[in-house]
């Protein structure tokens, strides 16, 4: 018995010693980190990120890898909190990743930016929309998601391109809604769209007929509402009851199917809103392919756009390795100067000198007579 134990121990020690001296192969896999909230409040987002990126990695490896080298995704769980994220970042760095995809929350990303920067590793955030993240002069930080100010710009530009000239701007005094309204207001001034009405409504008041009557008296040709879907539904419904036929357009907080239930199909018909597109509405071929694979593997679609943007971050990193090899300094340089109009899942991707994505992710939607959200 003793002998047997000694043998076992000997074998174990032998294997342990053998491990590190196993020969280094010339085609060591390329490691790309993925930091996401796999657990915690945003777990569905984090799990979506992992699922999407792993599907894409498997496809690339099946097709022969990057220039013949296999790619490995190392997952670090940030738990949706800055503290856990710092540990996840250390874990990813110690496994020698060349670049990291992630993460979702802005505050979580912010906690890890310096850690990756000091280690000289590229980070591409996928859901962190806080404006200041790219304003710190970090040379290796990028993001595939829009910035918070993009929505206001897209909203305002769409109002203009739909041919409206006199807007009534309505917000609900929450910081999101008022911020968006003020953002749009600045741009309306700049692009020459007149404002005939600007005021708030009180969420939960339910009766907005007084505001609507006042708006009617101001005679706008469109109502821009930057609040949430319960109030948007009521505004549409009461607008119709008052016989006030003017189009209405809103932001991504109204992207919820309840708006049709509350307003009724007839009143909701023709309502516009801007929102990042859902996966089925992304026009690219790669998105269609991802959708099919994802559907087959998980029986549903990714629950949000943010996991698809993680897929985009992964794809541009793969592209960078293809172009200049797995060297993060060269890759970062190439992402800023060499990458132009890369056909990503969510559309074409180009980064500016701050690491922000050039072009717009937000799309215009319109509610059809049967209550469907149709991308324009």
């Amino acid at each position: 018995m003793r002998k047997f134990l000694c043998l076992c121990l000997g074998l174990a020690i032998g294997l342990f010693l053998l491990g590190p001296v196993s020969p280094v192969r010339a085609d060591d896999p390329i490691k790309i980190g993925l930091m996401g909230p796999v657990t915690g409040d945003w777990a569905s987002e984090g799990q979506g990120m992992v699922q999407v990126v792993e599907i894409l990695a498997a496809e690339i490896n099946a097709a022969g890898g990057i220039n013949g080298t296999q790619v490995v995704v190392e997952v670090g769980d940030d738990g949706g909190t800055p503290r856990t994220a710092a540990m996840a970042a250390q874990k990813l760095l110690s496994s020698n990743v060349v670049a990291v995809v992630g993460t979702y929350g802005s505050s979580v990303t912010e906690a890890t930016q310096d850690i990756y920067d000091e280690a000289g590793v590229i980070q591409i955030a996928t859901g962190s929309t806080k404006i200041s993240l790219t304003g710190k002069g970090l040379q290796r930080f990028f993001r595939t998601c829009p910035r918070d100010d993009e929505q206001g710009r897209v909203l305002a530009n769409n109002v203009k391109s739909l041919g409206f000239t006199k807007v009534a701007l309505v917000h609900d005094n929450t910081s999101y809604s008022k911020g968006l309204a003020d953002e749009a207001r600045e741009i309306f001034k700049a692009i020459g769209v007149g404002e005939v009405y600007y005021d708030s409504i009180v969420p939960n008041d339910r009766d907005y007929t007084v505001s609507l009557t006042k708006i009617q008296a101001a005679n706008p040709d469109v109502i821009v509402f930057t609040g949430y879907y319960p109030e948007a539904g009521l505004l549409l419904r009461q607008k119709r009851e008052l016989g006030f036929n003017v189009p209405m357009i809103g932001g991504d907080a109204t992207n919820n199917s309840s708006i049709v239930e509350i307003a009724g199909k007839e009143a909701a018909d023709g309502y516009y809103f801007v929102s990042p597109p859902a996966l089925p509405d992304m026009k690219s071929e790669s998105a269609a392919k991802l959708m099919a694979t994802y559907q087959e593997k998980y029986g549903t679609l990714p629950s949000s756009v943010w996991s698809v943007l993680a897929g985009d971050a992964f794809l541009v990193l793969v592209e960078a390795v293809k172009a200049v090899g797995p060297d993060s300094a060269k890759m970062a340089e190439w992402l800023k100067t060499g990458l132009k109009d890369f056909p990503g899942l969510s559309g074409s991707i180009t980064f500016d000198e701050h690491g922000d994505r050039v072009g717009e992710v937000y799309r215009l939607y319109k509610i059809s007579p049967d209550g469907q959200f149709v991308i324009q």
């Binding site: 005094n173 005021d199 708030s200 409504i201 009180v202 939960n204 008041d205 339910r206 009766d207 007929t209 007084v210 505001s211 009557t213 006042k214 008296a217 101001a218 319960p230 539904g233 009521l234 419904r237 009461q238 119709r240 009851e241 008052l242 016989g243 006030f244 309840s258 239930e261 509350i262 307003a263 009724g264 199909k265 007839e266 009143a267």
Partner: protein, 304 residues
Amino acid sequence: MYDLNFFLQQLSNGLTRGSIYALIALGYTMVYGVMKLINFAHGELFTLGAFFGYTLLVTLGLAGSLGPPLAIGLSMIMVLGLVALAGHLLERVAYRPLRHSDRLAAVVSALGASIFLQNAIMLKWGAQYRAYGADLLPNVVFRVGGFNLPLVRLLVFVAAVVVMAFLHAFIHRTRLGLAIRASAIDQGAAKLMGIDVRKVIALVFVIGPALGGLAGLLVGLYYGQINYNMGQLYGLKAFTAAIIGGIGNITGAMVGGLLLGLLEALGEGYVSVAWKDALTFVVLIMILVFRPTGLLPERVAEKL
């Protein structure tokens, strides 16, 4: 811009809103008149009415199987009955055992009942917004002069006024009404005259909640969207209306509700939405400064 049509339109906006406040305010004022107790759970009884209506009309699909007019009539009656029952149970459980204790005990019990009911509604129906179908009532809009008068709005206003007229007649023309008025003036003397005050209190706790529940159903029908904590805001507004009118006075609650609706609509229409509540409460304070007991105070000789 602010012409006569604008004024008339805002007037009708305000009256609709006000008639709902008035219906809810009646519940506060009746209970206060008899028991000298603010029923803080009244806002939740109102919410309960909205959700009973939702279950009847949407979940059970009465509107689909009976046709809207019959379904709405039937659900009005059922909501009146169900919320009256809930009000009665509330009185039995939360208030009756405390009738002879300290006034403060009853107030705390009322607050507790309010929290309990709100959470019970949330657990039963969920925390999300629920929508009454928009096709329950036809969208007919009458054009009167230069302004628009939707049929739904007319229905809400007429329903509220009819119910209030009935209540007024009941209080002033029937023996039960007389008993309620007598109990409000002096419970001890009423008892000596052979009035069963306990029954009067039970009756008040049936009528008040029923009217609140009806208001909930009307809000569901008119605005089409309800959620579990809607009673807080409406309760507060209706309570304010009861104070403006003179709490304890039934006509006062009706006048106070309509006045509050008008004040809000005109404040919102002519000044700004952000200032609406500030203006309304400035008026409330003025009324209380010059008439501390409200516009139509309960007179000792002719209470209720």
